[in-house]
Amino acid sequence: MLALLGRRLVALAAVLLGLTVIVFLLQVVIPSDPARAMVGASASPQAVAAKAAQLGYDKPLPERFANFLGRAATGDLQDSLRTRNPVADDLRTFAPATLELALAASVLAALLGVGLALALAAGGRLARVLRLMLVAGASVPGFLVALVAILVFYSGLHLLPASGRVTDTLVLPDGPTQLLLVDSLVAGDPGVFFSALGHLVLPAFTLALVPALAIARTLATSLERVMREDYVRTARSKGLRERAILVRHGLRNAAGPALTMGGLQFGLLLAGIVVVEQIFSWPGLGLYLNQSIAFSDFPAITGTTLLLGTAYVVVNFCVDVAQAAADPRIRTV
């Protein structure tokens, strides 16, 4: 177990280094003049040169990469060209909103996924219809889902808000986690809690839809296989009801692949946020990334890519380790 952990940690470091190299190379290949963009159109050539020197853009590439790596290792991701803040500070500002959204979407995806899988595995006409619906659902572009959701639940039914994380006039608790659902509970503020919950529904659902379908399909496939097993037949012959078997034996034994899928999907959520946060005005990393792309703000793009990439790698690392801990056979692989 320890050896596996060690090997995985080394792999983790290698992947992060690879990511850093790629991301760094990307920001140097493009012809642009960030120094000029920063000091403005009316600045003198001297001022531009001074800024370029200050930002280190005048140094040779290997030196720039070494500086970049050294600083990144200490958590210094340079200053954003747009917000002028250290990128690390900006990421700290924007990350909690994304984390909250991603967590909510994960929970929703798990619940929906398991529910759908059970319905699928139970068979019958419903399963057939559902199966087609899954394929259809998987074919709808995310932005279309988001727009329809806003048109129906916000504009049409006036049930849910279309933008933001919480009602704009509320005073937010400054809690330890920066997750509004948690902090508002800690602070005993039901107003913020329910407002935050309401704001979460549409973006979380939009984000969760795809992973939920993926989990449902994986889980349903494993469930069907489990239900053909000898011990299930034995259970049947003992007179246990089909539903009881499905839940008691089926879910337990079919959970493995679905768990892996869930872990993968959590990482994937991180990419979906760019579209979802844009449409729902969610003040998270996706919004930050999008604004930075529009400004060719390379330090910010780089920092966000590194953070999202790291989160992705780490989450899957955890899933691996959890799986290995649960199933001894994997350790030898």
Binding site: G142, E229, H249, G272, V274, T305
Partner: protein, 338 residues
């Protein structure tokens, strides 16, 4: 867990591929297919899982009692029709479209759908139907192109790794692992954001992140098949290594690759549309469905046909691709399980 949870994980003979597919040497399952998360519109993992299933059942020759799920087969078979039609549209778009994709028609900007223009005209006065047709062509052919490139390169790497084994195998597979572990969607966004949006850059970025999964599938298949009696017999009969790989091993790997490819097309279409939607696809004035939809959103309320027609086209295209993927998956499944 005390009950043997079926043999869904590989037993000794299966060696690599099953754990790789289901629990992964960590980084397996569908990560390369993960690009669709950009579009936030497809279950990449789902296709991986299905592809994995089929692959596994293929080489294990496990009898299937999967009757219930196959119930939807009729509907799936019906999907072959739309796919054929869409492919025809993609290939014949220049002949079918009443106007050029960039041609400004006489109808003027924002003409409502009607006899002049079946789906209306856009903000410049171009025919929306023609642009959607050209957009289908771009999306469809691009998706096929990226997949073909990814599958070809991945298969090559996988075949070499599997056949040669040893040090080469280790190096190639570690490299593959590295690419599998990179956050593909985020990376693709970064690649395009840096290189600047163009159709070529977008396809390049997608191809870069799309091949590793194929490498793993092929490598696993080749390794598994190499251990089988007929390969062993060929080796004993003095057949050359390259010949064994080409004649005995690679053909066996083709089925799971085709399955995975077929399930990938839908994801790629959505991934392309998603990237275009956030401005990282083909720049204006190219007729690209995601971009047309995103740019048309400004006119959603006054002139809804401008954004909605391309969005619906994306959905239909992906639906047809996904249904046909399911169909192919099932066909191969049935054939091998017979």
């Amino acid at each position: 867990m005390t009950l043997p949870s079926t043999d869904q994980r590989a037993t000794a003979g299966g060696r690599d591929i099953a754990p790789l597919l289901e629990n992964g040497e960590g980084d397996g399952g569908g990560r390369a297919l993960a690009m669709s998360a950009v579009s936030n519109g497809a279950p990449p993992g789902a296709s991986a899982a299905l592809g994995g299933d089929a692959a596994r059942r293929l080489w294990r020759g496990r009898p299937s009692t999967d009757v219930r799920v196959a119930g939807a087969g009729g509907a799936l078979r019906a999907a072959a029709g739309p796919v054929a039609i869409l492919t025809a549209i993609a290939l014949l778009a220049p002949l079918l479209a009443p106007h050029g994709s960039l041609e400004v028609t006489n109808a003027g900007p924002f003409a409502a759908p009607g006899t002049h223009a079946l789906l209306g005209t856009d903000e410049i006065g171009r025919d929306v139907l023609s642009r959607v047709l050209y957009g289908i062509r771009t999306s469809w052919l691009s998706a096929l192109g990226v997949i073909a490139a990814g599958a070809a390169f991945g298969s090559l790497v996988g075949a070499i790794a599997g056949a040669v084994g040893g040090f080469v195998d280790t190096v190639l597979m570690r490299l593959t692992d590295l690419f599998l572990s990179l956050p593909a969607p985020v990376l693709a966004i970064a690649v395009i954001a840096s290189l600047g949006p163009s159709l070529m850059n977008t396809l390049l970025a997608l191809s870069i992140v799309w091949w590793p999964w194929y490498a793993r599938i092929v490598r696993g298949e080749v390794r598994a098949l190499a251990a089988r009696p007929h390969a062993e017999a060929a080796r004993l009969a003095g057949v050359g290594r390259t010949r064994i790989v080409l004649k005995h091993l690679l053909p066996g790997a083709i089925a799971p690759v085709v399955v995975t490819m077929s399930l990938d097309v839908g994801n790629l279409i959505l991934a392309l549309a998603g990237l275009s939607f956030i401005g990282l696809g083909a720049p204006a004035p190219a007729a690209e469905l995601g971009a047309m939809s995103a740019r048309g959103l400004d006119y959603l309320f006054g002139h809804p046909w401008v954004p909605i027609a391309p969005a619906v086209a994306v959905a239909l295209l992906a639906l047809a691709a996904n249904l046909s993927g399911d169909l192919i998956n099932r066909r191969i499944d049935e054939r091998t399980n017979r």
